[in-house]
Every structure is written in C-alpha cells, then in structure tokens.
C-alpha cells in the first residue's frame, strides 16, 4: 500500500500511509482507538475506496472497489461486527453469495469446511445454527468463510476483543497454522502482549499516520507503547482543585454479563466523590458503557452494589431501580450517553421537545408544559452557542458538536448531583470540545460528582482528578490525574495492573 489517504468529511482518517505486507507473515497493526487502523484495512478489503495512493499486489497495481473484488485478489477481512444470518447453519453462511455452477450441494460444502477445519485446527460444526453459537464460534465461522473462498491474505479486526484468554490462545494456534500454510495474516489490535505473542512484525499507526514498523522479536512493550501513544501533548485544559470532596457514589464488586454470557464488568469497585472529575480510561469495549448504564439504572447487573450517598450522609442502593425510580428517590442523576441520537435525544423532535425528555412529567397537569423547556432550549442555544436555525429545528439536522451541546445542556440543566458522560467530545471539533470541558469543570465546581469516560489519554490526564483504568472489564488501576504518566496509563489499559515500566 503506497501513500494511502482517506478523508471522511473534515477528518483525515489515513494520511499518506505506506505499508508493506509480506507473504507468509503475521503482521500486527497497532494503534490507539481512532488511529485509522480499521479504515486502512477496509480499503484493502474493498469496503472503502482510497481518496489517494495506490494498492499493489505482487508489484501489480490493483483496483479494489468491492469486497468481492478483494476476494478475487485473495484478500478477506473479518470485521468486528459479524455479517452472519442467525437462523442459518454455519455451512449455509459460508456458501452464501457464492455463484458456483451446478446445484447447491451442502454435503460437499460441509466436507470442504471440515477439511479446512482439519487443516488449520478449527472447531466448527457445519450444521450448527449461528444463533446457538458463542461469539468465538461465530468468529471462527467468519474466518472459515474467508478461507473457503480461497483467501491468501486474512485481515482480522481486533479479533480478541470479544474472546476469553483460552479462546484467544486457540485462535492464535490457528493463525500460526495458517502462517505455516503460507497464508498472510494481518491482525489489528491494541493489546501489546498479543502483538508479542503472535506476530512477526508490527506496524504502528498514530492519528492516521504511519509511525514505524519493527520486527517483533527486536522490540518490547515499552517501545511499542511509546510509539503508539506518542509524546504527551499539552492541551491546557483547566483543572480547578477539588473543593471538599466527599463520597457520592460508591460502587462495590459490580459484575455484569453481556447478553451472550461474556463478562463485561468483573468485580469493579470505586468511589466517585463530589466536586471531582473521575476519569474512566480503557480500550473501547472494556465495560465503560456497562458501568455507566449500571449506575443510570439501565443495565441488568449480575451482582455487586451501587450506593448513592446523600448530602445527609445516608446511603441508598441504586441497583435494581429503573431511571424513574432513581429520580423519584430524589437522586438527580444526569447521563450523557455515547449514542446521542439513539438514546440521549430523539432525532426527529425539535430542541424544545428534546429538552422536555427529562422534565415532561413534572406537575400534575395532563398536558405538557412547553414554555419552560422552550426557555431552557433558548438558554442552552444562547449560553453554549449552539448553531441552529431555531429551537424548533429537528435535532437530527444539527451537526455533531451542536447535538452534543444540546444534550449536555439539557443534562446539566436539571442541577445534577451526579453527571455521567461517555465519550463526551467524540466527533467534536476543538472549540466544541473545550466548551464541553468547561461545562464539566463548572459542574465539578458546583460540587457535582462527574464521571468522565474518555478515549483520549491526553485529555483524561489534564481534565480528571483521578483516573480509573479498566482493562477487559476489570479495574487495572486508579491513578492521580495530576501525577500520572501517560505511558503508565497506556500500559495499564493494555495489561492488567500495567506491570512495571521497565519490564
């Protein structure tokens, strides 16, 4: 791949990336969230088409404009979101879309699948239905699907994110078998120990740019982390000293299982204090969403407790209560969810009606009061400089930053005592981001316990008073925001406890 560039709107996802992939090797593509790893590989597999640069296979320039053409070049990608039909069997999914001549001979297909499984050591029953499968089995089906089509280059997008350690070992064994067979494997990841365990070479991307590549055997975790996170960047975000912090939310032994039985949170305990911003750091999908939704009363919890400590010192259990009950308890809890238009706001309603979402029940009247929310909408537009034609514009028509301002504006309007926010600045430009940081700081100074889930370590380190680092649903460590070192946090994110820096 030579000088590959891909631009989405205003963001440059890949900026002149040049990457070589050799036959019969396992290459790790390493980088933080949003560093452009997946985008780069999507261009190789025909999902996106590069805006600049070219792709060469065996020194021949090629055009890949659809997944099917990628297959013709022997490239197959296994995405994080599986594309499988649930009610079909494994074999049916594998042959789906193939235009082979002759009649559909499932038996023959099943035999071929078994053959592939035997060659590489997969464990798949071709007759099993997808909905009966675990995540790791589904992933196996996706890999077999690619092999069945005769792919020589396999790209796996964060394959271990959904796997248990045992399953990961099994997957790695299979990948090694494939390498022996002369296949090329590219594995996108941000887990350092996996890079060391599996790959021959590692290429690092940061903020859309190619940073460097190394022979795995000649590098170590520290060097890779440094390349991945880069030097700490000064952002100059304000961080007022917390005033009289008192425990507000006490989470103990919180354990949550996902719908497919995978542990999302495992025995998580921490305390969020008043007048303080508690940052939550972690690779995406490490239980941040489940953690916030558990506190907000939206998540089924396996065990544990979440205590809310009132001003008077009394504490009350939040678990097992829905958002309405929590509000009725007199707990003013605000939540800025990750999925702004799918959860926090109703896209087809205007600003005024969205302001009402939290408050429409107020008062005994059968009818809604639109005057107060309208005034609130106008105030939010005014104070947060929301760029909108009017307060009667559908929220869906606003840009990302403005949508977020509307959402945050509403959430802080209810004078919360706890403010939960997930990826509050994702997709926002610099100015909007600073507006949001200021708002969070204002809340902190008012004595609100703010929990900030973020992905940008620089921001977390400059904004938060304390940072809880999650790794695979477990607490990897708790650090002081003022003293913490970016690399140390980076290590904790990728490895439980972080290990010592000079390991």
């Amino acid at each position: 791949m030579r000088n590959i560039t891909k631009v989405f709107g205003d963001t440059v996802a890949n900026d002149g990336v040049t990457l070589d992939i050799y036959r019969g090797e396992i290459l790790s593509l390493l980088g933080e969230n949003g560093s452009g790893k997946t985008t780069l590989m999507n261009m190789l597999s025909g999902i996106y088409f590069p805006d600049g640069g070219e792709i060469l296979i065996n020194n021949e320039p090629v055009m890949i404009s659809s997944p099917r053409e990628a297959f013709d070049h022997g490239i197959g990608m296994i995405h994080q979101h599986f594309k499988l039909v649930d009610v079909f069997t494994a074999a049916e999914n594998i042959v789906l879309g193939l235009e082979e001549k002759g009649k559909l001979d499932m038996e023959q297909a099943e035999n071929k699948i078994r053959e592939i499984c035997n060659t590489y050591g997969f464990d798949v029953d071709p007759k099993q239905k997808i909905y009966n499968m675990s995540v790791s089995q589904k992933q196996t089906v996706e890999i077999v699907k690619v092999l069945y089509r005769g792919a020589d280059i396999l790209i796996l997008d964060e394959p271990t994110a959904v796997l248990t350690p045992q399953e990961t070992d099994k997957l790695f064994a299979v990948l090694r078998n494939m390498k022996k067979d002369g296949k090329t494997v590219v594995i996108i990841t941000h887990k350092l120990h996996e890079v060391l365990a599996i790959s021959d070479r590692v290429a690092v991307l940061r903020k859309g740019q190619f940073v460097g590549e190394m022979i795995t055997a000649q590098t170590n975790e520290q060097e890779m982390t440094n390349m991945m996170v880069g030097r700490a960047v000064e952002l100059n975000i304000d961080r007022p000293e917390p005033v009289d912090p008192k425990p507000r939310v006490k989470v103990e032994h919180l354990t949550v299982k996902g719908p497919d039985g995978v542990m999302k949170l495992d025995d998580v305990s921490f305390t969020a204090n008043t007048g303080e911003i508690l940052g939550i750091a972690g690779i995406s999908g490490c239980g941040q969403k489940e953690l916030l939704e558990s506190i907000a009363g939206l998540q089924r919890v396996e065990k544990g407790s979440i205590q809310y400590i009132h001003e008077s010192g009394e504490s009350e259990e939040l678990l097992g209560k829905d958002p309405l009950r929590i509000a009725e308890m007199g707990v003013s809890l605000s939540f800025v969810p990750e999925d702004r238009l799918g959860m926090g706001l109703v896209g087809s309603m205007d600003l005024t009606d969205n302001m009402m979402l939290r408050s429409f029940r107020r008062g005994k009247s059968l009818f809604t009061d639109r005057k107060t929310p309208r005034a609130l909408a106008e105030r939010v537009v005014d104070e947060l400089e929301v760029n909108t034609p009017s307060v009667s514009t559908q929220v869906r028509k606003l840009s990302g930053g403005n949508v977020q301002k509307v959402l945050v504006g509403r959430e802080i309007a209810s004078a919360p005592t706890v403010l939960l926010s997930a990826y509050a600045v994702r997709g926002l430009d610099i100015n909007s981001s600073y507006t949001i940081y200021d708002l969070l700081n204002q809340q902190k100074e008012k004595g609100v316990a703010v929990i900030y889930v973020g992905e940008d370590l620089d921001v977390l380190l400059e904004l938060c008073d304390r940072i809880l680092v999650l790794c695979g649903g477990k607490v990897s460590g708790l650090v002081e925001g003022r003293k913490a070192d970016k690399r140390q946090v980076g290590m904790m994110m990728t490895k439980l406890g972080g290990g010592s820096a000079d390991e």
Partner: protein, 367 residues
Amino acid sequence: MSKQIKEPFLHITKRKEMPARRAWAIRISAIVAALIVCAIVTTLTTGLDPIAVYSAMIDGAVGSSRKVLVLFKELAFLLCISLALTPAFKMKFWNLGGEGQVLIGAWATSVVMIYLGGVLPNGLLILVMLIAAIGAGAVWAMIPAFFKAKWGTNETLFTLMMNYVAIQLVAYFIILWENPKGSGHVGIINQSGREGWLPYIGTNSYLFIIIFVAIITIGMHVYLKYSKHGYEISVVGESQRTANYVGIKVDRVIIRTLLLSGAICGFTGWMMVSGTDHTITTSLAGGRGFLGIMVSWLAQFNSIAMVFAALLLVFLEQGAGEISTSCGLNQSFGDILTGIILFFIIGCEFFINYIVHVRKSSGKEEA
C-alpha cells in the same frame, strides 16, 4: 494505470428537508396525475366520457343537502376510525385490527340493546351500550398489545387475525339473533320502541355523530400534540432506547395506547349501531378499518390533515355510488379509483423523502 469505477446510473440519497409547501405541491400533483390516469382508465374500460363520470361523481357526493349530510356522516365514521388507529401508528404499532375492534364494539352495543332494551330506561340503556362498546373495543385491541409488550408477538399479523375472529363471532350471533328466522339478518333491532336508538334530529341522528367525531378529532389532536401521554407515545415510537433512558415504561405505554385505540374503535361501532344502522352485519365496518390506516398514514398522523385525507376517500366512495346509477357502472369502480389515487400518493412520498441523482457521465470515470 487508469482505474475504472463503475458507478450506478441512478444514485439515491435521503433528502435532508423539504419545505412543507413543496411537499404538499408534490402530493397534490400526484393526486392530479392520479385523476388523469383514472380518467384514461375510465375511458379505456368503459368508453365513457371521463368528464361526465367525474361530474356525476361530484353530483353524487355533494349534489344535494341530503347527500352532503350523508357524506359528512360517512366522513365522520372513517375519520373516527383513522383517529383511533393514529396513536398506535405513531408508536410504530401496526394496528390492522380496526375492522375487528369496530365490529366487536358494535356487537357489544347490540348485545345490550337486545337483552336490556325495554328493561332499562332509554337514557341509561344508551349509556350502558356505550360503555359496553368502548370496553369491548378496548379489550379487543389490548389482547395483541399485551402479547406485543410481553413477548414481542408480531402485532401486524395478530391484529389482522383478530379481525376475522371478530367477524366470525358476530356472524355466529347474527344467526342466533336472526329476525325473521332463516333470513340470515338480524333485522332492525327494537324497531317498534326504538330502545337504544340515538335520538333523531330531523329524520336521523347523523348530526350527533358528526358532532361526536368533531370533538374526538380536536381531542385527539390535543392529546397527541399537547398531552404527556402523547409525548410519551412519540418518544416510544421514535426510539425505545431513549424511552428507557428517560424512564418511560414502554410496555405500559403500548398497552395504554392500544386500550385507547380500541376504545375509540368500539365507540365507532356504537355510533354505527345506535346512531345509524340499528342492526348489525359482519360487513358493518366495511373495510374502513383498513382505509383508516391509509388515511392516518397519508396524513402523516396529523389529526387535522386526516380530515382532508378521509374526505378525499369518502368523496370517491360516495361519488362512485352515483355513477353506478347514472352511468350504469358498478359501485366497485370507486374502489379502483381509490386504489389508483392511493398508489400515486404512496409513490410520491419517495420523491419527498429522497433525492435521485442522475449521473451524467457514461458511468465510468477516471480516478
């Protein structure tokens, strides 16, 4: 080396927003186009002058004060059912069971009318009939709603099937109540004493019905637009996740809304039996349960726009009645015209919601 990208000739994207005026202009031109197509179809199939047919239709619909009154009564019935179905649709709950809910309301009315007629004083009797009808309609709609809320049972198919259960139930009772025996009809209920009949204003009680429905129209408009329930319905319809997030109990809203939907359908059944027909047949609802869906959908769930959508359909139906006598065509011609007009209006929504980009290049471009 040059690359060739094959781009589809037509590229379709979602439109951001279209000014309401332009959207209506598209809709109206669709109706006009439909009328032209209808005229062509008329000429081709019947050899009649389309202008003559249309003017006969207009005459049939509004040609005399009595015809206007009948038109308004029919409008009231269709509108009432459309209004009943609207809150459910707004919640994205496909209530195709209007037909059955009306019929079961009519059945409950008839039960009370037949068995308590003459037993209770007339005013009380009418009230009991009303309560029975509303209750029956509500229960009939609540059954699928309950299963939808609890187990996610497909409501489109469930409500559809409930129509025919209601029809057969009524068919059974019609034979039980046959009068005279063997006729297959119930005949006019309480013909001599008029027990349970809505009082007449002039020679009928249409005016009552028109007033009732006018009140419901305004009520429903206010309910959906200004009440807390209406707001909850919109949120649930747009996103159940958002509803959960702000603590709206989705199951409860589904069941409550369908109770209301069914209650108004039951009320319509009551008006039909007590106010106009004074008898019950399996075709009492006459497909209005389905037409109501289209009225509600065409008006984009706006109660006021629904008046006009319903008027259009009723106008066609009443007009078609006239051409059957004056031009010797049969009544069903109206259904064909209705169908054609509906297809055009349904189709034109696409052009309101999407933009079609035509590629001027030959489909290949240098990259």
